[in-house]
């Protein structure tokens, strides 16, 4: 069984086809969410090595064990259409947005609804592409992909999916570089933004600061 077949075997057959109306869609979404959410909460997604594709044609981002190569292709393409490298400001590549999003998908403090929505949206986008054009998203040329993204933003579900990606792009553009994006403060420099001082250090980044504070309690308070 191939990796992609293994992954599909996790998903009930009734879930594999993109729904045609909103009611059916929400049911589809709920079923898929349950599976993914359970996996994320249990912390087991990272153990599903079969979620990775061995397709040599597409490079998997280092350390990624959440998305297969087809999903990565769709995500990368969507990010570059939503925030294109058009000579105005830093690119997705320069900001390290993709790796930032892969980190967010595993971050226990991130919005779990957004995490599952983002992943499910990738599969949804692919199925819509197949339904509308007869081709997988990855088989579309650039112009077709741009039309597909535009189409998605005109649907309720697709707009929310793209909106979540836009928010994460903005985080990669504007949050402190300590979180792995906004490389060399490229986003701040582009927008002529003056950051606040002090900026966070490793001990004060959001995952660590409460532990840092608790380690500093006086003995009488423990």
């Amino acid at each position: 069984m191939s990796d992609s077949e293994k992954k599909k075997s996790l998903t009930p057959k009734s879930d594999r086809k993109a729904p045609t109306d909103m009611d059916a869609f929400f049911q589809w979404q709920t079923n898929r969410r349950s599976l993914l959410k359970a996996a994320i909460i249990a912390g087991t997604l990272s153990q599903f090595s079969f979620l990775q594709s061995c397709d040599d044609a597409i490079e998997i981002e280092k350390g990624n064990d959440l998305l297969d190569s087809n999903q990565m292709t769709i995500l990368k393409s969507a990010l570059n259409i939503l925030f294109p490298d058009d000579g105005n400001g830093p690119s997705i590549e320069l900001l390290n947005t993709l790796n930032y999003i892969l980190w967010v998908l595993k971050d226990s403090g991130a919005n779990p609804t957004h995490q599952t929505y983002l992943i499910e949206g990738i599969d949804w986008a692919d199925e819509i592409a197949i339904e509308k054009s007869g081709k997988k998203y990855s088989e579309l040329d650039q112009a077709e992909r741009e039309r597909a993204i535009h189409y998605y933003t005109e649907t309720e579900y697709g707009k929310e999916w793209c909106s979540i990606m836009m928010t994460l792009i903005l985080e990669s553009l504007l949050l402190d570089p300590i979180y792995g994006a906004n490389i060399n403060e490229a986003g701040w420099k582009w927008l002529d933004h003056t950051p606040g001082f002090p900026q966070p250090d490793e001990s004060n980044r959001y995952e660590n600061v409460l532990t840092t504070a608790r380690n500093a309690y006086p003995k009488s308070s423990v």
Binding site: D192, V209, Y217
Partner: protein, 559 residues
């Protein structure tokens, strides 16, 4: 060990009590639900402060059930872990005062006798306070010097009487746009004046002055310039050796004896173990909703409806601040390069306010009604809220090169100015706290269920002040002006729920904020307020807590 006083909570309502009791030589134990972050743990990190909001509990662990009315008049109760409508402020030592913007306006004398001055409002529970402005005035002055308030007093028609001629700390440096507001106001015959802030402009003791980081509201202060309860009061109180802080300690029950006196506070520690402490007096200051919840959770044989609740008043008449907000854009292309050079810098402090309309004429009847306060601001510096706004054009999602162009233009070619107008939230029978019958927190205790009823009479002053503000913006030359009233509650401005008053039948606390029913219980957060005035509450909560602290010290000394 039996402490003299056990205090539940450590925010603005607790800080003055901790400070005064410790300095008077009494042994104080503070039980704070949240962690203890020191100054060095705060940074200007949007991820920590606003994206992940780690200064508040995770909603999966602790949440509220909020009841709002739908268009057909039905009340719908939804837990906040489902709605994602986070109703927490700051659960850390120092409470939400760590994250306040610190606009410090005093109440006016008429705020203490709203019913007498303006009469009753149908379906509202307006009442006078049992104390007057004159009784609180010395404590406003004390807050100004001890916590530290910066500003300059200028004459205006609603200036309250003062025992001191001016604020003890000089005004903070502001963006030059402050003058634009004053000039625009003057053209409309409005007297726009400097606003006082609970932020020190010169060093005080161990506290450094504000260093104008421009990341203020929602962020902890890295110089201790902001007058949080932690920086301004608790740190000094700790030096006496009379204060013990127990962070990560969630009080869930106050146990009483046969005389209906509290003998123990029971709490969970960080890992969920149950503990208890004994004290002579107990002070609850957990912010209005959680204070009411703790009393309702503390059912004892002598008070089966909850502590201090035999009158049935606990949780009733919860109030917020009724606000109107709006914004406009200063488009750089509309002004000369010289003018834009004046204001195009990272400085976001404006500190200008309009108090001309603290009392207004009701448009239809012409009778005097309460108006409110307008503060003028520049959009906060932290970039994420600014940027997220740019991705929507009405219902349309903006993306691609169009979005990038808009974003660059927004950050570099314009400045968003804002107004916040504060009016009285009219207390009513549909705004109260009870315990949820179905939802429990991570410890298994019922969460607070909050009905958020809004009185339509709030709209009149809100709309009036919003129109005034928009007029100033137009005069100033702003574009895309929008705004209006909000019928939703201000999450960060909560009060009421345990009113003080002279009649035990319709109040929970006496005029000194001691429970009518439980002789060793005081409540010193905003819960005591029967009406909130047309200003943010923090300054008044601080002042009243200093006042009550004096009463407690007096009592303990006699004992």
């Amino acid at each position: 060990m039996k402490y003299d006083v056990c205090i539940v909570g450590s925010g603005a309502g607790a800080g003055p009590v901790i400070y005064e009791l410790a300095n008077a030589g009494f042994k104080v134990l503070v039980l704070e639900k949240g962690p203890w972050l020191k100054t060095e743990h705060f940074s200007k990190d949007d991820m920590t402060a606003t994206r992940r909001n780690i200064y508040a509990p995770a909603l999966k662990d602790e949440f509220h059930v909020l009841e709002t009315k739908d268009s057909e008049g039905n009340w719908n109760a939804v837990p906040t872990h489902e709605s994602k409508r986070d109703f927490w402020n700051g659960s850390v030592v120092g409470g939400s005062s760590n994250f306040m913007s610190a606009y410090f306006h005093r109440l006016k004398p008429k705020d203490f006798r709203l019913q007498s001055e303006y009469g009753d409002i149908e379906n509202a529970n307006i009442t006078d306070w049992p104390i007057s402005y004159d009784e609180l005035e010395p404590y406003y002055a004390k807050v100004e010097s001890v916590v530290g308030v910066s500003g300059v007093v200028v004459p205006h028609k609603n200036l309250e009487p003062r025992s001191t001629p001016d604020y003890p700390f000089p005004p903070l440096v502001v963006n030059k746009i402050a003058d634009w507001f004053v000039e625009a106001g003057a053209k409309k015959n409005y007297n726009i004046i400097p606003a006082a802030r609970g932020i020190i402009s010169v060093p005080k003791g161990d506290r450094r002055a504000c260093y104008l980081s421009n990341y203020c509201g929602s962020f902890g202060c890295s110089s201790d310039g902001k007058g949080s309860a932690r920086a301004a009061l608790i740190n000094d109180a700790l030096k006496t050796g009379n204060v013990e802080i127990r962070p990560d300690s969630k009080v869930f029950h106050l146990e009483t004896n046969e005389k209906n006196e509290i003998i123990k506070a029971h709490y969970y520690d960080l890992v969920g173990r149950k503990n208890s402490v004994e004290a002579t007096l107990f002070v609850v200051a957990a912010q209005a909703i959680e204070t009411a919840r703790l009393l309702l959770l503390s059912k004892n044989p002598s008070c089966p409806n909850g502590l201090a609740n035999n009158s049935g008043n606990v949780g009733k008449n919860l109030i917020f601040s009724a606000v109107a907000t709006g914004s406009g854009l200063i488009e750089f292309n509309d002004f000369s390069a010289e003018k834009i050079a004046e204001i195009n810098n990272p400085m976001t402090f404006v500190n200008r306010t309009l108090l001309d309309f603290y009392e207004i004429d009701e448009p239809e009847s012409g009778k005097k009604i309460k108006g409110g306060t307008i503060d003028f601001l520049i959009e906060h510096s932290n970039p994420m809220p600014k940027a997220v706004r740019a991705k929507k054009d009405g219902e349309r999602l903006v993306y691609g090169s169009e979005f990038k162009k808009n974003l660059l233009n927004y950050f570099t070619q314009k400045k968003r100015i804002r107004y916040e107008a504060f009016t009285d939230w009219i207390p009513n029978n549909d705004c109260f706290v009870t315990l949820s019958e179905e939802h429990k927190d991570k410890w298994g205790d019922p969460v607070a269920k909050v009905r958020l009823g809004y009185h339509d009479a709030n709209k009149i002053p809100g709309e009036f002040l919003s129109d005034i503000s928009k007029g100033v913006f137009e005069e100033l030359g702003a574009k895309n002006i929008s705004g209006g009233i909000s019928t939703g509650p201000t999450v960060n401005l909560q009060a009421g729920g345990c009113r003080f008053g002279n009649d035990p039948k319709n109040s929970v606390l006496d005029k000194n904020c001691k429970s009518h029913e439980v002789s060793n219980l005081y409540i010193t957060d905003g819960s005591f307020m029967p009406t909130g005035g047309s200003v943010p509450f923090t300054f008044t909560i601080y002042a009243n807590a200093f006042r009550v602290a004096d009463k407690i010290v007096e009592r303990l000394k006699k004992a």
